[in-house]
């Protein structure tokens, strides 16, 4: 085609079907079409055209200016977890983009649907060590489900459609789209936005094979001691009700992973607690007693299985998972039920024959009594002078009634909160399970509140973790997220200290951490707060926190050298769980 022909035909086409948009405008149009209403971000040089366009989209898109890009992506994660929608984070090139990496890794391992948009230097400068240039695509490849660099604005609508499709289908995960400044500025003929619903090389969920279901059902129907363990897959598959139908029809005891918490209400009569290193006694012990182990939407993390060669060796294993790479990865499966549990659970339930497993369930309750006697009772109703973390959670349960969203950071307080917090409804537990990211709690709680603004959001954080991302108090101050921050202060990096005590002859190496006056810090950010160290003040302090209309920080001083028990020590079997 000659140049002449081009110029002759072009204007006609454009007036007929297209409007001129910049790449930046196309990004924001895409977000609106995908139903995004909230963005967590931080501007900078290479993403300025997008922020410039955002100025005109102010009414349709709420942008929360975080104080650090890590805070931005953790907030997007919190948002995704409580809303069930895709969380969106913006960052600029270079340091802005690299600050996302921890959050991407966290979202990858915990399967959070996230779309990150990063600015990049002009396409002409790629690879020249330009100012704030970093190869974020290569840096983030192992910690993203998919990533892509846009250098031509015409690609933006289809690439973003792919990004949202990939992030939220199949096993969800984070996607990063890196857009050069030149592509953000480029004007092009915009032909509208169409959502993506198929990528040929990507199979988000398989067509369920009936024989898997039949064989799994046959095993379950013959089982004398079936045991269900469930994870976040139940929540991600929006299969909470299907899951409940399944365990209720079968009469199975069911235990959760950390990530599966709140998929089944804590008070359910068949809920037998939490699995794993600091999980409950009965489910850990019974893992090595059951004859059929039915794993639903969980991935046999090492913190759940303990020593693998002594894990459920006596049991036939049925594994329901959407990700084929998880099947047989850690635990050999007898029947793999590969598929979306939203589809597979009802099919399986349909084939169940009613069985009476009450006697089997009672065995769990017997072991539970032992745990209550040895651990739980003392933790929740201590006679010591100083408070325990457990009693703070107990009081929180009493005041909130179990309706609050519980966000935790990482460490002892996390395990205590996961063990004792009461959950009445799904999507109420936000924690960094797989990556164990200290500093996750505060920003995730901000996002969690935007994802569910009508619910109480309580961020339970240790004195160590809060200091990693404390700058996000500024975000709360500016935008008014009504986050309740409950700091459990034991004046130690408690989990590491516990390990040093138990496994390193009490050689406390750099676990003694001092803290600022947190209430004063909060005051500096115009956030109300209180600090208590006596039991008599606990109930009222928690109530004041929850009743307060707005963000609030409550610091509770707890026992310095308390340990979290039970514990499956590293390298031991789940049945060797220690009560003390």
């Amino acid at each position: 085609m000659s140049t002449l022909e081009k110029t002759e035909t072009k204007p006609q086409e454009e007036t007929a079907t297209t409007t001129q948009l910049s790449g930046s405008q196309a990004v924001l149009e895409a977000l609106i079409h995908e139903g995004v209403d909230t963005i967590f971000g931080y501007p900078g040089g290479a993403i300025m055209p997008i922020y410039d366009a955002l100025y005109d989209y102010n009414e349709k898109l709420t942008h929360i200016l975080v104080r650090h890009e890590q805070g931005g992506i953790h907030a997007a994660q919190g948002y995704a977890r409580t809303s069930g929608r895709v969380g969106v984070a913006f960052a600029t090139s270079g340091p802005g983009a690299t600050n996302l990496v921890t959050g991407l890794a966290d979202a990858m391992i915990d399967s959070n649907p996230i779309v990150c948009i990063t600015g990049q230097v002009f396409a002409s400068l790629l690879g020249t060590d330009a100012f704030q240039e970093t190869d974020i695509i290569n840096i983030t490849t192992p910690v993203t489900k998919w990533n892509y660099q846009v250098t031509d604005a015409t690609e933006i609508p289809s690439v973003l459609a792919k990004a949202f499709y990939i992030a939220q289908t199949g096993r969800p995960g984070p996607v990063l789209i890196d857009i050069t400044k030149s592509a953000q500025l480029q004007l092009f003929g915009y032909e509208g936005y169409s959502k993506c619903d198929h990528i040929r090389s990507y199979r988000p969920k398989p067509i369920v094979r009936k024989e898997y279901i039949e064989q799994a059902a046959a095993l379950i129907n013959e089982a004398k001691k079936p045991f269900v363990i469930f994870g976040q897959g139940v929540i991600l598959g929006q299969a909470e009700q299907d899951f409940k139908n399944f365990i209720e029809k079968g009469g199975f005891p069911a235990a959760t992973t950390v990530m599966g918490l709140s998929a089944l209400e804590t008070s359910h009569p068949q809920h037998v607690g939490m699995l794993g290193m600091h999980g409950n006694y009965a489910p850990n012990v019974m893992t090595n007693e059951c004859d059929v182990l039915i794993a639903v939407g969980m991935r046999f993390d090492d913190r759940v299985t303990g020593r693998l060669d002594k894990y459920a060796k006596q049991a036939k294993v049925i594994h329901l998972d959407i990700d084929p790479a998880e099947i047989d990865k850690n635990v050999k499966t007898t029947v793999p039920v590969w598929g979306d549990c939203k589809e597979t659970l009802p099919l399986l339930t349909g084939l169940l024959q009613p069985r009476d497993h009450r006697a089997w369930l009672a065995q769990f309750r017997e072991l539970e009594k032992e745990e209550i006697k040895e651990v739980i009772h003392n933790e929740l109703n201590p006679t010591t002078e100083v408070m325990t973390m457990g009693e703070v959670i107990r009081v929180l349960n009493e005041v909130s009634g179990g309706d609050a969203i519980i966000v935790t950071d990482v460490g002892q307080h996390q395990m205590v909160a996961c063990r004792y917090a009461q959950f009445n409804s799904s999507k109420s537990n936000v924690t960094s399970g797989g990556l164990g990211t200290m500093g996750f709690g505060l920003p995730a709680a901000i996002g969690a509140w935007y994802g569910a603004p009508h619910r109480d959001v309580v961020a339970i954080i240790g004195d160590g973790g809060i200091q990693m991302t404390i700058q996000e108090l500024g975000t709360i101050m500016q935008f008014g997220a009504k986050v309740k921050i409950l700091i459990l202060n034991n004046e130690f990096l408690g989990m590491v200290r516990q390990w040093q005590q138990l496994f390193h002859d009490k050689r406390y190496s750099f676990v003694n951490i001092t803290s600022p006056d947190f209430v004063a810090v909060a005051k500096g950010y115009y956030i109300d707060g209180n600090k208590i160290s006596e039991r008599k003040d606990l109930y009222n302090a928690v109530k004041t926190m929850l009743d307060h209309d707005g963000a609030y920080l409550l610091e509770v001083m707890v026992g310095k050298e308390n340990n979290v028990f039970p514990m499956v020590a590293q390298g031991t079997s789940v049945s060797e769980i220690r009560l003390k």
Binding site: I166, P206, P324, K329
Partner: protein, 196 residues
Amino acid sequence: MEKQEYTITLYTENSIGMIGRISGIFSRRKINIESLNTSPSEVENIHRFTILITESEEVVRKLCRQIEKQVEVLKAYYNTDEELIWQEQALYKVPTDVIAEKAPVERLLREYGASAVVIRNDYTVFETAGHREEIDKLTAELTKYRLIEFVRGARIAIIKDSAGFHSKLKQFEREEPAPEMVENEFLDQGDKVFTM
């Protein structure tokens, strides 16, 4: 399980950064890639990776699942040497006077089916293709005769049992989706497992 040579064949979209994405899956697990070849495949716009590693079958199977999980990978196969027709190519640069003067060299090259690609006064370049052992042997022999340069290409392999990717590709298109099997050692045994 014992380690042995496995050839992994991947069908992927032709997009930038695929080699990095794929190789990261190996390096993350500290597994050395012995050779890697990328090329077009029998299907237009679909690329074929041929990767050679020495590992146990269990590791290779898990690797292939992780690879298939990548958005732009359509399919990963793994095969043992017996299941493949495979070749590696090699180029040798040898001083021309050695060949002219030393009869054994010429015989050697003929024996190994090497053919001259370039002949100059100062050097001659030969190429040969075959299995690793033959190439290694020829290399060792030529080293005795002032071998100047040597390079060996990555393994390329044809899967004996494969019917090609044209029909497989249809399963990935919207129109004719097909169920996929998860390989499972217990399921394969059928009845033995399901009587309790």
